[in-house]
């Protein structure tokens, strides 16, 4: 650690005004503040309560919380490939994992290079400090797309969402919509055939560097929610597989257990709001139970929560502190409505097998309104208390 600090100090003069690498100062600044907490303190005057943890440290915690789901997603990519090829007995654990690793790694790299590239460029251009918001979005984006998403599509979608969902609103902390979800929404509406539809997008079909198996062309594998939307009444995968995550789906969203590990870390460190998270699950479960009781959906409440992107969205995206409701009471309403809308879209709209993305984006839009109502209710209550005395 010490040597890293010394190295940063040694190369620092190059990036200062007049240094030969001045053009890359935001890049240097970004990496320095990522590695070390900046040594600046609040100016004297006024009252400041300052936590030792800053937004880069919070982002790093979320990234760590995402790692179990990402690693399991890599394994599942390999597992689904072997399963589809009918070679499950010939595949080894590490073989499947490395196959998935090689399939996912390019997406991670593209997501980070494009997203951070735009952020660094904007910071340099506007002469601002580098903003760290893309650290989390950059790892979430590869996890919420199907494994067969072409890299160029991913690059366009990332560029679109960083520019139009984030930078034009003023950068990190100013965005109305979750950047990762805008990326997915862009892909979903622009290239529907590559995101859902023909059921071949969920399983990698070619060998990579000799690993994995080639899958015959006639093969197709739908996600459980896709099967239900197509009119099936029973699922082809067992409930146990659905909880563990050995089902087709977007890369990081399948395993409830891996997501639960991340959720524990987020709740234990207090980074994510337990109120939002809990109310999303309550809303989804009640709505799922309701539709099941009415006979509109063959899935019960439990399956609605386990399947698709529900858990991933509830844990990592509904709780995004920037785009969710900020008042304590508002968090309950915000979360509940996400769960409600997500399951409603699934059940009532046959065109969209999964509704989590649309639900969170819709509620992102309403979060400021919810906050406004709670704040003004609070103000009027206090005003009444004042006048009644």
């Amino acid at each position: 650690m010490n040597s890293l600090r010394k190295y940063f100090d040694k190369i620092k003069p190059n990036f200062e005004e007049g240094g030969k690498l001045h053009a890359f100062r935001s890049l240097y600044d970004g990496f320095e503040t990522f590695a070390f907490v900046p040594n600046t303190t609040a100016r004297v005057g006024g009252t400041h309560i300052h936590d030792a943890i800053d937004s880069k440290r919070i982002m790093s915690l979320v990234v760590i919380a995402l790692v179990p789901a990402l690693l399991f997603g890599m394994y599942n990519v390999g597992y689904q490939n072997a399963l589809a090829a009918g070679q499950l007995e010939n595949a080894t654990f590490w073989g499947m994992f490395f196959y998935g690793f090689l399939a996912v790694l390019p997406k991670l790299i593209v997501s980070y290079v494009v997203g951070l590239g735009i952020e660094f460029t904007v910071a340099q251009w506007k002469n601002e400090e580098i903003q760290e918001g893309f650290l989390v979005s950059g790892i979430i984006i590869p996890m919420i797309v199907p494994v067969n998403t072409p890299l160029w599509m991913l690059a366009i979608a990332v560029a679109f969402s960083v520019i139009f969902a984030k930078e034009i609103f003023g950068g990190t902390g100013m965005n109305i919509f979750n950047v990762a979800l805008i990326t997915r929404a862009f892909l979903f509406f622009s290239y529907p055939s590559c995101m859902t539809g023909d059921d071949t997008v969920w399983v990698a079909q070619d060998t990579i560097l000799g690993l994995g198996f080639a899958v015959p062309d006639t093969f197709s594998a739908a996600t459980p929610l896709g099967e239900i939307a197509a009119g099936a009444t029973a699922l082809s995968t067992s409930f146990c597989d659905q909880v563990v995550g050995l089902i087709p789906g977007s890369i990081g969203e399948t395993s409830v257990i891996a997501i639960a590990l991340g959720a524990l870390l987020l709740l234990w460190t207090g980074v994510a709001s337990w109120k939002t998270m809990l109310s999303v699950f309550v809303g989804g479960a009640l709505t799922g139970w309701f539709y099941n009781a009415l006979g509109l959906s063959p899935l019960d409440a439990c399956q609605h929560i386990v399947l698709g992107g529900f858990c991933f969205g509830a844990v990592f995206m509904a709780t995004d502190p920037v785009t969710s409701a900020r008042t304590e009471g508002g968090k309950w309403i915000y979360g509940f409505l996400i769960g409600f809308v997500a399951v409603t879209v699934r059940v009532l709209n046959p065109g969209y097998p999964e509704g989590m993305m649309l639900a969170i984006l819709l509620m992102n839009l309403f979060a400021p309104l919810i906050d406004y109502c709670f704040v003004s209710r609070n103000i009027s209550r206090r005003a009444k208390r004042l006048t009644s005395k």
Binding site: P150, W152, M153, F189, S190, Y191, P192
Partner: protein, 208 residues
Amino acid sequence: MSTLFSKANKEALTSPLNLNNPVVVQVLGICSALAVTAQLEPAIVMGLSVTIITAFSNLIISLIRNSIPNRIRIIVQLVVVAALVTIVSQVLKAFAYDVSVQLSVYVGLIITNCILMGRLEAFAMMNKPWPSFLDGIGNGIGYAIILIIVGFFRELLGAGTLLGLQVVPQWCYDHGYVNNGMMTMPAMSLILVGCVIWAHRAYNKDLQ
């Protein structure tokens, strides 16, 4: 001739093209700009129709402006615009049936286009016929330019064609290129209009 194209008249013709553009500066006529720009051809026809209607409605209203009773002037303006819209709509049906089917109700809805009423109220009611005519042409073309820019990008990126001709070569599709479906949706044309406004304001510093 010098009086026909005096400085004021030139101004009436050219200012709507740039600094006083009805779409990107005054933000009028957005609905039809979103609705008809999925392809280039309807966008051009729509721009042309609006140009003709604004020009001639401006001219006619300006000719009779002194005899219109003030209290019923909106009705009179609407009658003139409606007559012109009907003529254009019938001409399109007769000579460009395919395009008129694509444009469907939006030709008829030109009557509700804010640009028209805006120019009639703001310009034709208080100016002489010739400047009013030029003002109508300028505003119509200013509107058409934006429609054509948006329609160009939407058709190119959304369908890979321009005016119905294949532009993106087949080998791109063979190598995995896919048309962007969102470009054919109205949502994306709103974002494109936003981009045009962005570029326009970045270029014209005095609009910021």
